[in-house]
């Protein structure tokens, strides 16, 4: 039953996701509501997925599947996340020429894109609330590190995996060695 639940969860995620980070609100909501991940673990998997090969959605599927039901769970979750590929895309491949200039797809995306912007903004607020706080209080060292990360990304265009690696090292020093 757990496997079926995992599969269905990722079918929903697969069919309503249109690439990259737009999947995060869906993944976050599904994982937390089923108790497969905590809010912290959602942050961790986003970071891990960005540092390893493979698309975010599938990496999340593997992580969540593994945590919920081992290697078989990982496989089942991947198959769920890929379900639009071997159903919808397989059909679209047969009628490829018709799909090539399909206007409807573009029209749908006109509404889906701003919806994703709104939801992803919601996730950012969610993550800010859990990642920069400790026992309900603002944790200043974390806020400062986050601000540095943001400046590196936006101002100096440092790549995402590099920023994540630097933050890991800073974390070891700040929280591990110094004990902030």
């Amino acid at each position: 039953m757990l496997l079926l639940e995992l599969f269905w969860s990722f079918v929903k995620i697969g069919f309503t996701s249109f690439g990259g980070l737009s999947m995060i609100p869906l993944i976050s909501a599904e994982m937390i509501s089923h108790g497969w991940m905590t809010a912290h673990e959602v942050s961790d998997i986003v970071a891990i997925a960005e540092m390893t090969p493979g698309p975010l959605g599938l990496n999340c599927a593997t992580f969540a599947g593994m945590r919920a039901a081992g290697i078989l769970g990982a496989f089942v979750a991947n198959m769920g996340a890929l379900s639009p590929t071997y159903t919808l895309c397989a059909v679209a491949a047969i009628f490829f020429d018709k799909f090539r200039d399909n206007k409807r797809l573009g029209e749908i995306m006109t509404g889906v894109r701003p919806a994703c912007v709104g939801m992803v903004a919601g996730v950012v607020v969610d993550l800010v609330l859990v990642n920069y706080a400790e026992a309900g209080n603002i944790h200043l060292p974390s806020v400062i590190l986050g601000a540095v990360d943001l400046i590196l990304l936006l101002k100096f265009h440092v790549s995402i995996p590099k920023v994540l690696m630097l933050s890991a090292i800073a974390g070891v020093i700040m929280f591990g060695v110094i004990g902030l």
């Binding site: 249109f18 890929l82 590929t85 895309c89 919601g122 920069y132 890991a168 591990g176």
Partner: protein, 179 residues
């Protein structure tokens, strides 16, 4: 043929750090420039449709390409090839993560990494914003969806569906108005 497709996509899948565009570049190098089995334009078509259909972009691209080479099973061979390495890597990492989650050094490193996640998503969001607001009502949609997601905790599945319907209505309305 199926084995060849599987192995080729296995290699592609091993080198897709942060986004699927590197795969498209690798496919161009091998299939357009070297083997000449598809044209630049066809690859572009495959990419743009793979991107606009739901699901994982590179999975969809793999399916389209494989289908073109060897039918449905060709598509499956490419899809499975693409996910093999990332899945094995993530299975190993997850095992490691689960085992060492409470180790002081790993926990400290992850705490550091967590502070970067919101900035990472925020910077990606800036990129999305550029193409997201085609018509003025798009701003209202974004704001409404933020509220429905954050305050009312509505399922993103529904919000995406609502967005899709609004997209169709909006385009229809602007089209009629312009006639």
């Amino acid at each position: 043929m199926l084995a060849k497709l599987y192995i080729q996509f296995l290699k592609f899948g091993a080198f897709t750090f942060g986004g699927g565009w590197s795969i498209v570049a690798q496919m161009k190098e091998i299939y357009v420039n070297r083997e000449k089995v598809i044209t630049d334009e066809e690859l572009l078509d495959i990419t743009s449709i793979g991107r606009s259909l739901p699901g994982t972009m590179i999975g969809n691209i793999a399916m389209f390409f494989g289908h073109r080479m060897a039918g449905f099973f060709g598509g499956l061979a490419c899809m499975f090839g693409m996910i093999t390495v990332p899945m094995i890597v993530l299975i190993l990492i997850t095992s490691f993560y689960t085992a060492f989650q409470n180790n002081l050094w790993v926990a400290s490193a992850m705490r550091g990494v967590r502070t970067a996640v919101a900035p990472v998503i925020l910077s990606a969001l800036m990129g999305m914003v550029k193409s997201a607001f085609k018509f003025p009502p798009c701003y209202v949609i974004a704001l409404a969806m933020f509220g429905l997601y954050f305050f009312l905790r509505m399922s993103p599945v529904w919000l995406v569906i609502i967005g899709a319907v609004l997209g169709l209505l909006m385009c229809e309305w602007y089209e009629r108005r312009s006639h």
